[in-house]
Amino acid sequence: MADKLVADKHLRYILNLMAEKKKESFESVVMDHLRMNGAYWGLTTLSLLDKLGSVSEDEVVSWVMTCQHESGGFAGNTGHDPHVLYTLSAVQILALFDKLNILDVEKVSNYIAGLQNEDGSFSGDIWGEVDTRFSYIAICCLSILKCLDKINVKKAVDYIVSCKNLDGGFGCSPGAESHAGQIFCCVGALAITGNLHRVDKDLLGWWLCERQDYESGGLNGRPEKLPDVCYSWWVLSSLIMIDRVHWIEKAKLVKFILDSQDMDNGGISDRPSYTVDIFHTYFGVAGLSLLEYPGVKTIDPAYALPVHVINRILFTK
């Protein structure tokens, strides 16, 4: 049983992942296409542990820029096609390093704005998959770039609200089942656009607080599913944005996250004694940040970037 966050071990775990390795595992090659996401998860974790200086900013930034397409969107890795998923991660990474100024903001924002559909929804790329995840991405990204007026915000918000379910949660499209990941996206998008009054906070708050497993203290993503560290972010940040986080037992959740660490090799897994990965390492640390764990910087629950980064960007006129 773990009683503390082994930050140094996690630091080493992340730095190893980011460095070029001669020996590649099958697991890492199979995730090649989402390296941009992986970089965002790793770098944001470093930033929360106040260790962003451990990586070479120039190396990271120049690699990020090689992933930009002529359309303005970013790919998951060099050579892949552009998609909003990786465009947001790229912009978030640049924000971490305070390097948004190297972007051709017009180009990136036009790429995203061009993906808004008639009904206010967003496609992920030119192939037309629609999902509220992409609504969140568009709104989050354009807000960071201060270009939110390039899209029809009212229609975007109305589309998101049309995905609200009778249990107070949100799904990926109208009529789709509530899921903590989608809820984070919808609540986050509504938060960023100043529309949280369109959320039934008490109804959703109760649905969210019932994600906590009595035994382990972990959170699941929807009813009758297993707890998973990544929901420490999706559920927790949603609860915080609607001011209902006091409805869960925080100490028990801290314990669940700490118990999911690999105390020897670093990294955090989906639940205790399972395989670690960068995804769960980030969500575990981000969750601890939201739980005010000492030694972890505060993360913004809507933009999923450190608060000092977001305040710096949005409070500068």
């Binding site: 099958f26 249990d167 006129k317």
Partner: protein, 677 residues
């Protein structure tokens, strides 16, 4: 990335993995070359299939296949057999990819893309879906795909409802099926489709969901469905007026900014420098369209044509439960005026779900305008001295407005019967959490439907006890039950004039303001505000409040005491920005500045939530402090406070105090000290 037990790697496994990795790398780089060079030969296409079979998440390969299909289609001159065989192959590739990972977004989207080209039979797709449902009945990709297919083929909602019947009868622990049922049923009910009248259907659904809840009370699958049924039972679609200020049959005293000539009156006194008083309408749900044409005012008070009505809500919103306008009066014309308000004079008041306000509702009050006699004193307001007990028997609590309108509903009876029946059923589950919680909710619902004051208030003890039991039974959710307890407690306090009057006082120091004392009651949540619109001074000190959510409707509030609560930041006080009368605010001895996480960060209008920010001198001269104390800055600059107490918070200190003085230049008293100029 999920569900793999941790084990130490051994060299054999590592070597095998490395070999697989090399193969995959080679496949990937060959594929990339084909993609960038736009090579769509049979060989190249097959290579992409091999890649997707190993890694269905390689999204660029799905894009490539779409391009390859479009390229092939452009060459075959629309021979339907050839088209079909090309598209069939795509469906086969998707199926094989889904076998690898049936949660692959890329695979499911590719299938939709193929189908939108007008291909494949519905039986095939539904068969495929049945296969996946059997593997995992909670696979939301499959359910979403089912919805997509249903829409393409115009399958009826009734048929799909039967499908959920089958799924639920097979296994009640299928939240996905209950969810889909709720979507279909609410649509059928809204259409008033044949056989879908709420008064018949809802009781049947209660029976159905009982099977889920009573078989295994710990299984959450039916909980939220039951809560939805309760909402359908309670909530009338047509918006209703809940309360108003001034209320029907009341008398109010109006004067200028000075003190009234005469001793304490039993009516509410409102003094205004601007010569206007608020008229507040509180609806049971958010509505839009309240204006001078939909709400008419009939009175001899001059200068009140074309009044502007404002929704009390977040900046973006055109809808609200609470609407306010301001009626002018001239204190040099002392007189008694009858004022008649007609809400819904013409159609236009509409709920956010598109339902019109019920037939016009009229109410009348008397405004007694007085002469101003003395100059107003700007003494410090005390929360401990200068109070008289106040007999509120003349107060009309307006609890009957909604009820009158509700009872006029034709189908009020089935609602009461349904609640009574549920109360009886759930009395049995008294040792389970969901049993107690549902019973508490049902009893609260029943209270709202009772009109007899004598009976009302009696069952609140039972409700409060249930929440106390739940705090012990399910301690992880202690704070949730605590909040519900506070709500029930406040409903009890405001359930009759008699119980409310025990908390009502008059403050001599400010024209006998009506003061409500709700201190030292362990309140963690504010409620019943619709019954408290007349309150001008509110003492909520020594409680457990985290925010002022709900207080925005209290448009008459001029003094508020929140000392010794659990307020963590100024952002938690955002709702007070709507309370334009507020002059005196005490937030001393709270937790402001103590926590690094701000849980009301996005519930406060600011640039973080893309609210317009008009720069002022303070912002220009102190950008660092504005960022550091952003929420105090945005909240305080919208208030016109004369008296503020902030001591006893971690944020307190010279730096913060001097910042406050810049943001609120007209402040007269800070932490009990008179400010010199």
């Amino acid at each position: 990335m999920h569900g793999r037990p941790r084990k130490a790697s051994n060299p054999e496994e590592e070597a095998a993995s490395a070999a697989k990795a090399v193969k995959l790398r080679s496949l990937q780089s060959q594929f990339m070359k084909n993609h960038h060079d736009k090579i769509y030969t049979e060989e190249a296409i097959e290579l992409s299939m091999k890649l997707l079979e190993i890694n269905p998440e390689a999204y660029t390969a799905w894009n490539y296949r779409k391009l390859a299909v479009e390229d092939s289609l452009s060459r075959i001159e629309s021979d339907p057999n050839l088209v079909n065989s090309i598209l069939d192959e795509e469906l086969r590739v998707v199926e094989s990819a889904l076998r690898q990972n049936f949660k692959s977004y890329g695979a499911w989207h590719h299938r939709k893309w193929v189908l939108s080209k007008g291909h494949s039979s519905i039986e095939n797709e539904l068969k495929l879906l049945d296969k996946f449902q059997r593997l995992d009945s909670r696979n939301f990709h499959a359910w979403n795909y089912r919805r997509f297919v249903v829409e393409l083929t115009n399958r009826s909602e009734q048929d799909e409802l039967h499908y959920t019947d089958d799924m639920i009868n097979n296994n009640f622990s299928n939240y996905s099926a209950w969810h889909n049922r709720s979507v279909l049923l609410s649509s059928l009910l809204a259409q008033n489709a044949d056989g879908f009248m709420p008064n018949e259907r809802i009781p049947d659904e209660y029976d159905l969901v009982h099977s889920a809840i009573f078989t295994d009370p710990d299984d959450q699958s039916g909980w939220f469905y039951h809560l939805w049924l309760l909402d359908q039972t309670l909530n009338v679609e047509t918006p209703l007026l809940t309360s108003s200020w001034p209320s029907h049959g009341s008398t109010i005293n109006l004067s200028g900014a000075g003190c009234l000539n005469g001793s304490s009156s039993k009516f509410t006194t409102f003094c205004s420098e601007s010569g206007s008083f608020p008229l507040i309408l509180y609806f049971d749900q958010a509505v839009g369209g309240v204006s001078s044409s939909t709400v008419t005012i009939d009175s001899e008070l001059k200068g009140n044509e074309d009044l502007v009505w404002e929704p009390i809500s977040y900046k973006n919103s055109q809808v609200s439960c609470v609407w306010v306008t301001h009626l002018k009066y001239v204190s040099s014309d002392p007189c008694e005026y009858k004022v008649k308000i007609r809400v819904g004079n013409s159609p236009g008041i509409v709920s956010s779900r598109g339902h019109n306000f019920r037939a016009p509702y009229e109410f009348v009050f008397t405004a007694h305008v007085h002469d101003t006699v003395k100059d107003s004193q700007e003494g410090i307001v005390s929360w401990t001295d200068g109070f008289d007990i106040w007999d509120a028997k003349s107060m009309d609590l307006n609890s009957l407005i909604t009820l009158d309108q509700l009872q006029a509903e034709i189908d009020f009876k089935w609602r009461q019967e349904a609640i009574d029946s549920e109360v009886e059923c759930f009395g049995i589950l008294s040792d389970s959490k969901i049993g107690n919680l549902t019973l508490a909710r049902l009893l609260m619902a029943r209270e709202a439907m009772l009109s007899d004051d004598a009976v009302k208030g009696v069952r609140y003890e039972e409700i409060l006890q249930l929440y106390n039991d739940l705090m012990a039974l399910d301690s992880s959710h202690y704070q949730y039950y605590k909040d519900e307890h506070s709500v029930a407690f406040l409903h009890k306090v405001t359930s009759s004039s008699e119980s409310l009057s025990r908390h009502l006082f008059r403050y001599r120091g400010m024209n006998n303001l009506v003061c409500l004392r709700l201190n030292n009651l362990s309140l963690s949540r504010i409620a019943s505000v619709e019954k408290l619109l007349f309150v001008q001074m509110l003492d909520l000190s020594h409680n457990e409040l985290r925010s002022t959510e709900g207080l925005e409707a209290m448009q008459l509030l001029s003094c508020l005491n929140l000392s010794h609560n659990k307020i963590r930041s100024f952002s938690a006080l955002d709702s007070l920005r709507h309370v334009k009368q507020l002059k005196v605010l005490d937030v001393s001895d709270n937790h402001i500045g103590k926590h690094s996480v701000d849980t009301t960060r996005y519930l406060c209008s600011s640039p973080l939530s893309n609210s317009e920010w008009s720069q002022d001198d303070v912002g220009r001269q102190n950008p660092g402090l504005v960022t550091k104390y952003w929420d105090a800055y945005f909240v305080l600059r919208d208030l016109k406070l004369k008296q503020l107490d902030i001591a006893g918070n971690e944020i307190s200190g010279n730096e913060f105090s001097s910042f406050v003085l810049q943001v609120v230049p007209k402040l007269v008293w800070l932490d009990g000290q008179k400010l010199g100029n």
